[in-house]
């Protein structure tokens, strides 16, 4: 089962409301390389991993991604806090407001809703871990784009933390892939 800890993994600060940035950030909430995709991809793939170590890594990284999902939600929540409807419309969030007011919703930056088609599970640990390695790099690149799109130093701080985590996860997945390769090779000795 899972437990909720009533705290963010890392403090989220924004220095001012910013509708446009909130819109861009949504891609890390409900976009293809976002935190929901990451969490569900890893937590779903773990059932067919061949080694206990790989099951553990996917469980732990998948769980940490849920904490990142909460950080992105907090960024969007804070960036939109107290912003009137006409201001949302001016910055292209009128369509979002029409359906969701200023509630969060799982879409990418263009309003396309999240879909399970963003993620895969092949039941082949080598294929799945390669997907996970690629996912971490795509998320790292997305965070770099987002950092360049804002001049808010407080927001940048939180985004830099998340970017850094993608790099650490990539490292751990790489080690896991090596370990799984070793396991699969040893099994082929008759």
């Amino acid at each position: 089962m899972w437990l909720y800890e009533k705290k963010l993994q890392y403090p989220v600060r924004v220095s001012k409301p910013d509708v446009r940035m909130a819109k861009y950030l949504m891609t890390q909430y409900g976009g293809p390389d976002g935190e929901l995709s990451a969490a569900l991809r890893y937590l779903n793939q773990r059932y067919t991993m061949p080694t206990d170590r790989a099951k553990g890594v996917l469980t732990d990284i998948g769980t940490e991604e849920l904490a990142h999902l909460e950080m992105i939600a907090t960024m969007v929540y804070k960036l939109l806090k107290g912003v009137p409807a006409e201001e949302l419309r001016r910055h292209d969030l009128g369509t979002h407001y029409a359906m969701h007011d200023s509630a969060l919703f799982l879409t990418d930056a263009s309003g396309v809703p999240w879909t399970a088609a963003y993620i895969q599970a092949h039941g082949d640990p080598v294929a799945d871990l390669h997907e996970d390695l690629a996912a971490e790099q795509k998320a790292r690149a997305t965070y770099e784009h987002l950092i360049r799109l804002t001049d808010d130093p407080d927001l940048k701080d939180g985004l830099r933390f998340l970017r850094e985590r993608e790099i650490v996860h990539f490292q751990r997945f790489g080690e896991t892939l090596d370990h799984v390769h070793g396991y699969l090779t040893s099994k082929k000795v008759f």
Partner: protein, 89 residues
């Protein structure tokens, strides 16, 4: 007065976030390096210190974790705000 209380809460919360971050990092490292004794000792030391700070925080501001992980003072304090996304750092 309310401001001073919030500052104190945020100070303690940030100390917990720092230690728990170290715990997450050691945990992931140990997942792929289970024989590393030095990392394991660092992890266990972090857990001990983190537990102390969490007990201190929970005594002042209510449970950090639900479903049986932490007891609550009267009245039930789990649902008390501010919720994590509402805290200003």
């Amino acid at each position: 007065m309310e401001d001073i209380r919030l500052q104190e809460r945020v100070r303690l919360l940030r100390a917990i976030q720092e230690l728990e971050f170290a715990a997450v990092e050691w945990n992931l490292f140990l997942d792929t390096h289970p024989d590393n004794r030095e990392a394991l000792e660092a992890y266990n030391a972090t857990v001990a210190r983190l537990n102390e700070l969490k007990r201190e925080y929970e005594a002042a501001y209510g449970p950090l974790v639900h479903f049986g992980l932490s007891p609550s003072a009267y009245p039930w304090r789990w649902t008390d705000g501010p919720w994590p996304w509402e805290i200003e750092y």
